[in-house]
């Protein structure tokens, strides 16, 4: 009798658990619907705030009112990232949660990858930065002069700036750092021929050849360490510490765990920074990161959030999403076909175009990303300077796809491989894409790859389809060139390099007039996407890079550049 009662109770407990599990699934669907309303409401409330808000709102309104995270913006900053009426408060430690894990923290020539910018900008500065409209402004340089004929760039440096060890930032220090970057093989310095120190605060950089992206490469991506600190303490010490001119100094670094910063008492802007310190907590699991944020253990989540995390947080009270719509630092994801090998069906542009017509990309992205990812059809964020409105792109048209396949000699279709990662959006999207390709006769066999294999495909080439991850900054000569160049580091070995595209790339790189350069970049968009479909189909831009509680003020998170922020101006209103 007792056994029966216990058995019945346990069975009842199991049934209740099952029902509770089903119930929570439908609750999360309901919260998705609520979150879309919240996003739209937030966008309308903050409609006169940041400039990127209005651009993003218009972009999203053209996409059937699907809310995007670029339309959910901070309500406490104006378009220049300036603070509203509340006055700043000093003190406190900002806790930032991130999935990015730097291998080194202070030895800047080894800090590669956009994802490291969040760390780097705490302790280091560059010669130039950007304003919210994407225009280059000075940071450690107060002025510069570009001379395409020589070719050279002459920087006039800020005076009175000190490194965190108290030594002077000057032209000699700049020269020392540039030479170190060159020694380490950094691409930003490949075009530097020689460096002349004109005086303590004037430095002339002679270039091998004129490149339109030289100012951006040298000005924005190179950071400056104290030569004295490096020579005195050694490279290994600097890898674990910092010695820059930035507002903070590394106080603790545990690889894969955390990075801590304290205020730099020698910072050159009076009154800044406001915070006593910053602590980056590194998370390997996005659920843990999300829970830590909800529990208030982190104040900001930064860089590369997936749509599941974004969707879970979009209806969370008291938070803001900061995205950047000028295209700087933005990243896109697309599906790229291999086209290098003549025997590959994707060698023919008709087949690549058929790929683009065969799939309902809008529906896939919208449904799998809960409507949170922004669609694009080219190498640019919609609304940014090098986004070409005249790029027609490819609408969903399976019949057109079949026609193109027949034209290319594949009326019976063909078999190929679709490489994908196992996680979330990518695997789900791959399933949907494969199913739709099958309807036009392309059998895309899905193969799951891990990060290591994926990296191998990107660097050594692949056969079939793979995800295309790209930094889609407006400077196509710089960013697209990394993939389009015959010796590009990623994807280059798997694709064709049409002569006219390379020629246009060369013209973009050597343009001396900004307007002419932009004109050519717009032309490149049409050539690469409408004419050749060389990079296949771009799917989406993930411009939203930071999620923060509203008591986190200033910081200009992703205001000027999606991957950067201004640690010196950040403060806590609590």
């Amino acid at each position: 009798m007792k056994k029966r009662i216990i058995t019945l109770l346990l069975s009842a407990a199991m049934v209740v658990s099952l029902l509770a599990g089903c119930g929570s699934a439908s609750e999360s669907n309901a919260s998705t619907a609520v979150s879309e309303d919240a996003a739209t409401t937030a966008a309308s409330v903050s409609g006169d705030e940041k400039s990127n808000s209005s651009e993003a709102t218009s972009a999203s309104s053209s996409e059937e009112s699907t809310p995007t995270l670029t339309s959910v913006v901070a309500v406490d900053q104006d378009s220049a990232g300036n603070l509203e009426t509340t006055s700043t408060k000093s003190g406190g430690t900002l806790n930032i949660g991130t999935a990015q894990s730097p291998a080194v923290i202070g030895y800047v020539p080894e800090l590669t990858g956009n994802s490291m910018m969040h760390f780097t900008r705490c302790a280091y500065e560059s010669l130039t930065y950007y304003d919210n409209d994407g225009n280059i402004i000075g940071q450690l340089a107060k002025d510069w002069k570009e001379d395409p004929d020589e070719p050279s760039i002459t920087f006039t440096l800020l005076e009175g700036v000190k490194f965190s060890d108290g030594t002077d930032f000057n032209a000699d220090a700049v020269k020392w750092n540039l030479e170190l970057y060159k020694e380490k093989g950094r691409s930003e310095t490949n075009n530097i021929d020689s460096i002349e120190v004109i005086d303590d605060y004037t430095i002339k950089i002679n270039l091998v050849e004129w490149q339109s992206s030289a100012l951006e490469q040298i000005g924005f991506f190179i950071f400056y360490m104290s030569p004295t600190a490096v020579e005195k303490n050694g490279e290994d010490w600097v890898r674990q510490n910092s010695c820059g001119t930035g507002p903070y100094v590394v106080s603790g670094f545990e690889q894969g765990v955390s990075v801590s910063y304290v205020k730099n008492e020698n910072y050159h802007i009076a009154g800044e920074p406001y915070l006593d310190g910053i602590e980056f907590k590194i998370f390997s699991d996005s659920t843990t990161l999300e829970n830590a944020f909800k529990a208030g253990e982190v104040d900001v989540i930064t860089y590369g959030q997936d749509c599941d995390l974004l969707n879970d947080l979009i209806s969370f009270n008291g938070i803001s999403f900061d995205g950047c719509s000028n295209g700087l630092g933005a990243e896109s994801v697309g599906l790229i076909p291999s086209s290098a090998d003549e025997s590959d069906p994707f060698y023919k542009k008709e087949v690549r175009q058929a790929l683009c017509y065969a799939v309902d990309w809008d529906s896939i992205v919208s449904s799998l990303s809960y409507g949170l990812y922004q669609r694009t059809n080219q190498w640019a964020v919609p609304g940014s300077e090098t986004y070409n409105d005249e790029v027609v792109g490819y609408s969903y048209d399976p019949e057109k796809a079949k026609e193109l396949l027949t034209e290319a000699g594949y009326s019976d279709g063909f078999e190929t491989t679709l490489y994908t990662m196992s996680s979330g959006f990518y695997n789900n999207a791959a399933q949907a894409i494969s199913a739709q390709l099958a309807e036009v006769g392309i059998t895309a066999n899905i193969e799951i790859v891990d990060a290591t294999k994926g990296n191998d495909l990107m660097t050594n080439g692949w056969t079939g389809l793979y995800w295309h991850f790209a930094s889609i900054g407006p400077d196509l000569g710089l960013y697209m060139g990394r993939h389009l160049d015959t010796n590009g580091a990623y994807y280059a070995k798997g694709i064709q390099h049409p002569d006219d595209a390379l020629k246009l790339l060369g013209e973009i790189r050597t343009a001396t007039d900004h307007d002419i350069k932009v004109e050519k970049e717009l032309e490149m968009q049409k050539l690469i996407y409408d004419e050749y479909a060389l990079f296949g189909m771009p799917l989406y831009v993930n411009s939203a890079k930071h999620i923060r509680y509203n008591y986190v003020k200033g910081g200009e998170f992703a205001a000027a550049d999606a991957i950067s922020w201004s640690p010196a101006t950040c403060w806590l209103d609590k």
């Binding site: 216990i6 590669t112 380490k184 490949n190 890898r239 545990e254 843990t288 290591t452």
Partner: protein, 314 residues
Amino acid sequence: MARYILKRLGQSLIVIFIVTIMVFVLMHSLPGDPVKIFLGDSATPEQVEYYTKEFGLDQPLYVQYFSWINGLLHGELGRSITYKLDVKNLMLQRLACTVSITLPAFIIALVIGVIFGVITSVNRGKPKDYVLTSIANVGIATPSFWVGILLVYVFSLKLAILPVQGYVSPTESLTGYLKCLVLPVIVLSLGHLASTTRQTRSSMLEVVSQDYIRTARSKGLSEKTVIYKHALRNALIPIVTMMGGAIGGLIGGTVVIESLFNIPGIGSLMLTAITNKDYMVVQNVTFFISLAVVIANLVVDILYGVIDPRIRVE
């Protein structure tokens, strides 16, 4: 006994040698270039070449293997490509963290598991037996990560009495350490506690039905003496075997828990290292886990003789 131990050590060395070859070959067979992974998508051919030379990856494979073995024998474990740190220091840091979480879990699982097992065996067919056996069954059946997520939801998000994540060293703050310890230790110990309970119950039930137990009772010994002095000692052999086998898993198998609670232990180090093809970390950690398993098995064998003098190793 000494001869037996020496023989086992000799066998273990062969096993470990085979493990080093296998892990080296496997890691180098995986696709992907660790230098390119480390440098990211803005890597230039010059940078790749520079760092490939710096890490000695341009050397022939046999040179790389023997360099590693030579370093291992001299206590030099090389440098991590991902972290740019000495692997020895990295491993010690992470191992200390893992052990500070897994050791309490191990002790709790062993002590409470044995106690529960004894209680259930002594009270067979009674409510105590049903309740504790049910708990054990749930503990075995339930995935640890699910339990972890549930505990985080209840205690961290809803009740806000324990942290969601993180690790504080006991040397830094004992209170912080204990707070961070609670949830991971519960999750880690649950499965082992459940299996220990079941194994103890099973072994005890077998032992208490033996004649010598009946004899002990008929001699008028107290039930406590009969159970703990006579029955439990004879029932320990399979439990010791099981716990010995758990050692390897406790050191290297905590990757899920470490990810869930954001604990910087050896498991998460291995996960990152495997993803980034960080040869030296993977090779060295695998080597030391193998060594730990081999030593654990040897200790278990020796303990057999201690627990049961009838067992003689020849």
